[in-house]
């Protein structure tokens, strides 16, 4: 028995029946099972079980998100230094970024874990790892300037209202991280919209240096008046296709890099964790809608209509949302065809909200929540069809 095993064994007695902290058993279990898979043999058939458990499943989603954190930390610091007129060297940028992002992550996890533990203790079940994924996703969707108390409030709303009141992970039909994010947007629009919120200022500054505009590509695309040359407008604002792909521009902490989101999506698809039906459905829906808008666009219509469909995919957090939020298996559609429709509709809505609702420049979050609401209906319809095809066995 090694030291770590001894440590858990000696702690165990306090958390099991009759121990001082017996009520906090879910806490103990949750931490111990990170180090050691539980010692549990099957009691009924099948005698053998697959090695996969929910912990591994969720852990890998978090692994997929780590590059976004690495990039987000750098980008937050870099944009901050740029706007504050400070050195944009790698290490200073990382340092600033770390300060901002780590604090947010710590607050999110602490608050989120508190709620989950509370419900786990009251309901006497083990802590579900879905929480760790929600808490990993949530900060990535926030602007770096978000006050910590708002982040705490947001994740509380997401976990409690988005998930626990429905009975916890597995019974929720909304994506908790997005629910929290949407709540913040509607409750505190001042801190979550406008060009200023996407860049953290440091060094005691209250305004960015003159050369720094801070406008995100989405807001550039929304407000431009120059007709029929929207790509040119974006390029003039510094948003070349390459920059949009890479994501080194002001935006939410982790959502700007389409390239990383594509890599993450590929990772999750190869492992079979994310549904290819949903991801491809989303991308297809987005491209098709943007293409359709191109077709109806005239020389005098809104410039946004004529934006190249691939720009839609590259701008903002669309791909991030598709790869990690739309694919949350619990809140997504469950049936194969329903998944395609679910994904496709998310793509469609993302573009429509972006183009036609200037008050909400990034449409992907809202699109996903909206489709979360419809997923059960889509499932029901497909289920009906499927059951009708079954030859009854009576």
């Amino acid at each position: 028995m090694n030291i770590i095993e001894k440590f858990f064994e000696s702690g165990r007695k306090h958390f099991v029946e009759g121990g001082r902290f017996a009520k906090l058993y879910p806490l103990y279990e949750s931490i111990e099972s990170v180090f050691f898979a539980p010692a549990r043999a099957t009691r009924t058939a099948p005698n053998v079980r697959d090695n996969l458990d929910v912990k591994r499943f969720m852990m890998l989603v978090i692994v997929a998100l780590l590059p976004h954190y690495a990039f987000g930390i750098y980008n937050v610091g870099y944009q901050s230094h740029l706007a504050s007129g400070l050195s944009t060297g790698f290490f200073p940028a990382i340092f600033t970024g770390l300060k901002v992002v780590l604090l947010l992550v710590v607050v999110t996890y602490t608050v989120g874990f508190f709620w989950e533990l509370l419900f786990a203790v009251v309901r006497k079940h083990e802590i579900s790892e879905g929480l760790f994924v929600s808490c990993a996703l949530f900060p990535l969707t926030l602007p770096p300037t978000i006050p910590l108390w708002q982040a705490a409030l947001g994740i509380s709303f997401g976990i409690v209202i988005g998930k626990e009141i429905f009975g916890g992970t597995g019974r929720n039909f909304l994506n908790p991280a997005l629910t929290g994010r949407a709540f913040l947007y509607f409750a505190y629009p001042a801190q979550l919209s406008g060009d200023a919120v996407w860049t953290h200022l440091c060094g005691g500054r209250t305004a960015a240096v003159d050369a720094f505009t801070g406008a995100t590509p989405l807001s550039v695309a929304t407000v431009t008046e120059r007709l029929a040359d929207i790509q040119g407008v974006l390029t003039d604002a510094g948003y070349s296709a390459a920059k949009l792909m890479l994501g080194d521009y002001p935006g939410s902490i982790g959502g700007t890099s389409t390239l990383l989101a594509l890599v993450g999506a590929a990772f999750l698809l190869i492992l079979g964790i994310a549904s290819y039906r949903i991801i491809f459905g989303c991308i297809l829906g987005l491209l098709a809608t943007a293409f359709f808008l191109n077709l109806v666009a005239t020389d005098n219509s809104m410039p946004y209509l004529s934006l190249n469909p691939f720009y839609h995919l590259m701008m903002g957090g669309a791909m991030f949302g598709f790869a990690y939020m739309a694919t949350d298996p619990v809140s997504a559609a469950h049936m194969p065809v329903a998944k395609w429709i679910f994904g496709f509709s998310i793509g469609v809505l993302t573009v429509l909200i972006r183009v036609f609702n200037p008050a909400y420049p990034e449409g992907v979050g809202l699109a996903i929540i909206f489709m979360n609401l419809f997923a059960p209906l889509l499932d029901q319809i497909e289920l009906k069809f499927r059951l009708k095809k079954r030859v009854p066995n009576v």
Binding site: N47, F57, N393
Partner: protein, 449 residues
């Protein structure tokens, strides 16, 4: 020859396969009948401790139909009747004597099979205590002797780890097997399907021209329930009967020789068995007699039947009437390795692709560990992907828990072939299989009551 192929199902890559060799074991000192392990039967004891019995004397009868009796696998003295909780009869143990007198049954020469009256043939099987070897879909109880089946499926080979190979138990018994097929033909107006794996060339050579249906694909494509599901043209066929290939030999032995059969070919396998091969032994043999000193470890599970659908026995129990396999694998009571969660898992078999074992073609060692805690369903959909009969186990499970019998039937509950794959793959460790199997059995009992 018809051929069936399925894309669903799953083959577990587990090590410990039995070799095709076979060895005959000495006569054991004791044998037993395990009424507890005979599905659905409500046993009434016909003997008590101290009684003398012959090979073929009735030990219990079914209270639901007292014609159906289960006979003694050996001759000697009843030394013990062991009861479990709520007075279920666990074991009726017989101490064998040297001579082992045999009850004489009426024998049936091969040429008479065609001529004999069907009812009379059924009488012979029922009196010989072997009627329950014939099972009826979808509930898998023995059929009522006065029904005529739409077809009888004879399954040769079983893809579940680790079952005996048909070419081994049929070796040298082809004639007896053909005799048995004729009997089944008589019972079903010649609608017998003899099913074997398409890739098993040994059995195809041995039974040239006898096999009528081949299958290919993953476990449990061999199961008659799966074959019927994928072939049926009418709902009537859901009531088909089936007999395991080895049990055809028992039936044939009874009718041909007029004595109760006693031989059982058992596969001893699993990573804890030092010798992994087939053994000829007796029906109801003690497990310890089969394992003898062929064991490696101490914390071992004795699985009677397959790794998925079998049940746990011990060194002190006996072979169940229907069981032809004994697998020994580690219990898996220990915790996982340190930070196993983050390891690539090249040697951890999984249905999913989240371990590096997805690239490993070797068969890997498995234990009886659950590998995780109980969680709510995360809608991964794996259970529906593996189900060989297109059930959506996660939805059916919910319907069952909510007490919605009609709804669960609509979901195809009765098509469930009880393969256990849904529970096997579930990352949330939900007991889907158990729940569905019990729901099915409850529905049946209610219907019969």
């Amino acid at each position: 020859m018809k051929s069936i192929r399925i894309k669903s199902g799953f083959n577990i890559k587990v090590s410990g396969q039995p070799a095709p060799e076979v060895q005959s074991l000495q006569k054991p000192t004791r044998l037993a009948l395990l009424p507890e392990r005979i599905p659905f039967v409500k046993p009434r004891l016909k003997v008590k401790a101290g009684d003398t019995v012959q090979v073929g004397s009735p030990l219990i009868e079914d209270k639901r139909n007292s014609e159906i009796q289960f006979l003694s696998p050996g001759g000697g003295k009843v030394v013990d009747v062991i009861f479990g909780p709520r007075r279920v009869i666990r074991e009726i143990v017989i101490q064998l004597d040297d001579e082992e007198k045999q009850v004489e049954f009426e024998s049936l020469p091969e040429i008479d099979i065609k001529k004999i009256d069907r009812d009379q043939l059924i009488r012979l099987i029922v009196n010989g205590g072997l009627w329950p070897l014939i099972r009826e879909l979808p509930f898998r109880d023995y059929p009522s002797p006065d029904t005529v089946p739409p077809a009888i499926y004879v399954s040769l080979g079983n893809l579940e780890p680790f079952q005996p190979l048909p070419e081994v138990y049929l070796a040298g018994s082809t004639e007896l097997f053909e005799y048995g097929l004729k009997v089944l033909g008589k019972l079903s107006a010649d609608r017998v399907q003899v099913c074997a794996s398409r890739t098993n060339t040994a059995i195809q050579r041995q039974l040239n021209g006898i096999i009528t249906l081949t299958y290919s694909g993953n476990y449990p494509v061999h199961d008659p329930g799966v074959l019927v599901y994928h072939m049926k043209t009418s709902t009537e066929e859901n009531r088909s009967w089936y007999v395991d290939g080895q049990n055809v030999l028992l039936l044939a032995h009874l009718l041909k020789n007029g004595t109760y059969p006693t031989r059982r070919t058992v596969a001893l396998a699993g990573s804890c068995a030092r010798v992994k091969k087939h053994f000829h032994t007796r029906l109801g043999a003690p497990l310890a007699h089969i394992t003898d000193d062929r064991i490696d470890d101490s914390d071992i599970r004795y699985i009677e039947g397959g790794l998925l659908t079998g049940y746990a026995g011990s060194a002190h129990t006996y072979l169940g009437l229907f069981e032809t396999a004994l697998s020994l694998i580690p219990e898996g009571h220990e915790k996982g390795e340190l930070l196993g969660l983050f390891r690539p898992g090249y040697r951890k078999p999984s249905y999913s692709r989240v371990f590096l074992s997805a690239l490993n073609r070797e068969n890997l060692e498995m234990t009886c560990s659950v590998h995780g805690g109980d969680r709510a369903c995360i809608a991964c959909g794996y259970c529906a992907q593996v189900c060989p009969v297109d059930i959506l186990p996660q939805f059916t499970y919910k319907a069952v828990l909510a007490g919605e019998v009609e709804e669960s039937l609509e979901h195809g509950l009765l098509d469930c072939v009880e393969c256990g794959l849904c529970s096997y793959v579930c990352p949330s460790k939900i007991e889907l299989f158990e729940t569905l199997k019990n729901a099915k059995a409850d529905f049946y009992k209610e219907k019969m009551a």
